[in-house]
């Protein structure tokens, strides 16, 4: 049965109430009230006007009632050797699949539910994510089952891997992953947020992440969305960066029928550096939307952004990247670039780089390009004996590699490279194009 937009939203609000104590219960109910008032974003909303949500609305998503039991071998191909691993199955923390042995002193990686009594958790949870103004964030804040709590007070070399696994359900389900990362002064870490599907099936992931970087902290935040092509994925990440901190994000969107990733980085301290790189590689009828906002609020901030979209078949990729430089943010240095590759006549890419500058003492540049496979490069490769298919794949892979190669986890770079190679050729062979 096909639902209407209103019915779909009603159904989401009827999700399973997750009981919590004290402060969290208050946040949850407040979020639910906001969600009910906000409703789904209107297509007239400037940030949503390119994003067609109609494929989402026809489904009724239910909360996950029982959680699948998996073994480590079920998720074997997604594991990162030597990592500190937190595994969530359909939004529920799995202690059996997680491996926290590599977390030494000064690092706390745990299930959020286990840490609710911690004052640090209370002071950071829900502080940055806009649950009063963003429907999806509000829904997540009310309905999340459990989440990750990552607190780093020193330099950690082992990557912290938050693996979100979805399993097959009989009816469409809604999953609400949640993650809070606090980087104390002068700490360093790599966090990998990873969204994977073990089976097909229609479901919705609605994830929220909050990241705090205190002074001099450095975080490389990797986000990989490789969910099944019938899934819906909404992800929001709010970041606050302190004085002289360095926040580097590499976000890869490969999966989902429809995905939307919003990032909001606020420069809170003088001299903070923010680097946002993204790649969306989609085909068939996929839609991938990335909206980022970098807010330079204080002096001498630096931001560098490179976002790439590759769209094949009749896929639709959207990028909206806004950079705001406020009056007081003197000496801001910002560069934003949107580069896009269209692989078929029916594919569609909308890109919208935006700069809003409110003071004169800045250096800001931005640019966007949209192109097709370079015919000269293609001919060159063919003239060296590579067939058309191989040559095209090599060029597409090379375009994507510039982003993937920024991930500081070699095994993940390797496996994503293979996934992309497989996906490019697989899509072609199955006639999606």
């Amino acid at each position: 049965m096909s639902l209407t937009k209103e019915q779909c939203f009603e159904q989401l609000l009827l999700g399973k109430a997750v009981k919590s104590e004290g402060w969290l219960e208050r946040v949850r109910s407040e979020a639910l009230e906001h969600a009910a008032t906000l409703n789904f974003p209107s297509a007239r909303h400037d940030d949503w006007r390119f994003t067609d949500l109609s494929s989402l609305f026809i489904h009724g998503f239910e909360s996950v009632a029982s959680f699948a039991k998996l073994t480590v071998s079920d998720i074997g191909k997604y594991l990162i050797q030597g990592s500190i691993r937190l595994v969530f199955v359909d939004g529920c923390y799995s202690a059996e699949l997680s491996d926290l042995n590599n977390a030494g002193a000064g690092v706390t990686v745990a299930s959020l539910a286990e840490r609710l009594g911690d004052e640090l958790v209370e002071s950071h949870f829900g502080r940055l994510a806009p649950y009063k103004t963003d429907t999806f964030v509000a829904l997540n804040t009310n309905f999340f089952e459990d989440g990750a709590w990552v607190h780093v007070a020193k330099e950690v070399t082992a990557p912290i891997h938050m693996l979100n696994v979805s399993t097959r359900r009989n009816s469409p389900s809604a999953i609400y992953p949640r993650c809070t990362v606090v980087m104390e002064s002068s700490s360093r870490a790599t966090v990998v947020e990873d969204y994977v599907s073990l089976d097909g099936g229609i479901y919705m992931t609605n994830a929220v992440t909050e990241v705090v970087l205190k002074d001099n902290a450095q975080l490389h935040h990797v986000r990989v969305q490789r969910e099944d092509k019938s899934a819906f994925h909404f992800g929001h990440c709010s970041v606050e960066s302190g004085r002289d901190s360095v926040y580097s994000a590499t976000s890869i969107a490969l999966g989902a029928r429809l995905s939307r990733h919003t990032v909001h980085v606020t420069q809170q301290g003088d001299g903070a550096e923010m680097c946002l790189d993204g790649l969306a590689l989609i085909a068939g009828r996929q839609i991938a939307d990335t909206h980022t906002l970098i807010d330079h609020a204080v002096p001498r901030g630096k931001s560098v952004q490179l976002h790439k979209c590759i769209a094949d078949g009749s896929a639709h990729a959207i990028f909206g990247g806004k950079i705001i430089v406020h009056t007081g943010a003197v000496g801001t240095d910002s560069a934003q670039s949107s580069r896009n590759l269209l692989l078929s006549d029916k594919a569609h890419i909308d890109t919208q780089p935006q700069l809003e500058i409110f003071n004169d003492d800045v250096s800001c540049k931005h640019g966007a390009t949209i192109g097709q496979i370079d015919q000269d490069a293609l001919f060159f490769l063919k003239s060296r004996g590579l067939d058309e298919e191989r040559a095209r794949n090599l060029l597409i892979h090379a375009f994507a590699a510039e982003i993937i190669d920024k991930i500081p986890v070699p095994s993940l770079v390797e496996s994503l490279g293979q996934t992309i190679f497989g996906r490019i050729s697989g899509d072609r062979m199955s006639g999606v194009r």
């Binding site: 370079d374 015919q375 000269d376 490069a377 001919f379 060159f380 490769l381 063919k382 003239s383 060296r384 004996g385 590579l386 067939d387 058309e388 191989r390 040559a391 090599l394 060029l395 892979h397 090379a398 375009f399 994507a400 590699a401 510039e402």
Partner: protein
């Protein structure tokens, strides 16, 4: 060198071709035997670069008449990659940059594709590294170029040397060098020429397309052809190049 009785490698008859609806080649005839070095000279716009692109199969160029056979096979019935697999090689006038594809990865991919075609074993990365480090000496290139993206940030001379490195690795039967000398300083020219000379055998052949005579001081041709208005208007020995250097092209144009 010219060997009596060596087999015909390339035979082009009355070739006509156009690009963007404009006819550029208006009946080119050329026969190349194994072991020979040919130079095709001519002013800009004479059709010499078009000729090399047509032979390699560039999609923008359309054959409208005539034939070309490569070791007896109809060249124009083959895709560019099949021409390469059959042993034809084009050194590009303007080598393309391919960010994100390492030089060594491309060389190995191309090499192994040709090995498979020839019914030979592919080389794994370690074996290939040994091979490529041997070959790179031919063009006196720093091995650090192998790890870099294909031609990205290379100088003009480095790009041309990289083309010859590809030739050294792929060992084509027939190499067409399209203005390989353009943009090279004298030292780079010497290195490139030395590289090409070291690859010449009695079983392969080279066709050099060039505007200037100076390359021919280093790679000595058996035949020099002058192209004008989309035809070969004169064929001679290496002394023809010297005559062109001294007298220019006008006297031939008038004769044609």
């Amino acid at each position: 060198m010219i060997n009596k009785g060596s087999k015909v490698m390339l035979e082009v008859k009355n070739l006509r071709a156009e690009v963007g609806g404009v006819e550029i080649l208006k009946g080119v005839n050329l026969t190349v035997h194994a072991g020979e070095v040919h130079a095709i000279m001519g002013i800009n716009g004479s059709g010499k670069s078009t000729f090399s692109k047509v032979l390699a199969g560039h999609p923008d160029y359309h054959v409208t008449g005539g034939t070309a056979t490569f070791e007896g096979k109809d060249l124009f019935s083959l895709e560019p990659e099949d021409r390469a697999r059959a042993g034809l090689f084009l050194a590009f006038q303007y080598p393309v940059e391919i960010p994100g594809v390492s030089n060594s990865a491309l060389l190995r991919l191309a090499y192994n594709t040709l090995q498979t075609e020839r019914g030979l074993e592919e080389l794994d990365p370690l074996e290939f590294e040994d091979l490529v480090h041997e070959k790179i000496k031919v063009v006196e290139m720093d091995p650090s170029f192998l790890g870099r993206s294909v031609n990205e940030g290379f100088s003009g001379g480095e790009k041309k040397r990289n083309e010859i490195l590809q030739m050294a690795v792929l060992e084509p039967k027939l190499a067409i060098l399209d203005e390989t000398d353009s943009g090279l300083d004298i030292d780079a020219l010497r290195i490139v020429a030395k590289g090409v000379n070291s690859l010449l055998t009695a079983d392969n052949a080279v066709v050099m397309v060039t505007h200037y005579q100076r390359l021919l001081n280093y790679i000595v041709p058996d035949y020099v052809h002058v192209m004008d208005g989309g035809r070969i208007v004169r064929t001679g020995g290496k002394e023809l190049a010297l005559e062109l250097e001294a007298r220019g092209y006008d006297w031939l144009r008038a004769a044609a």
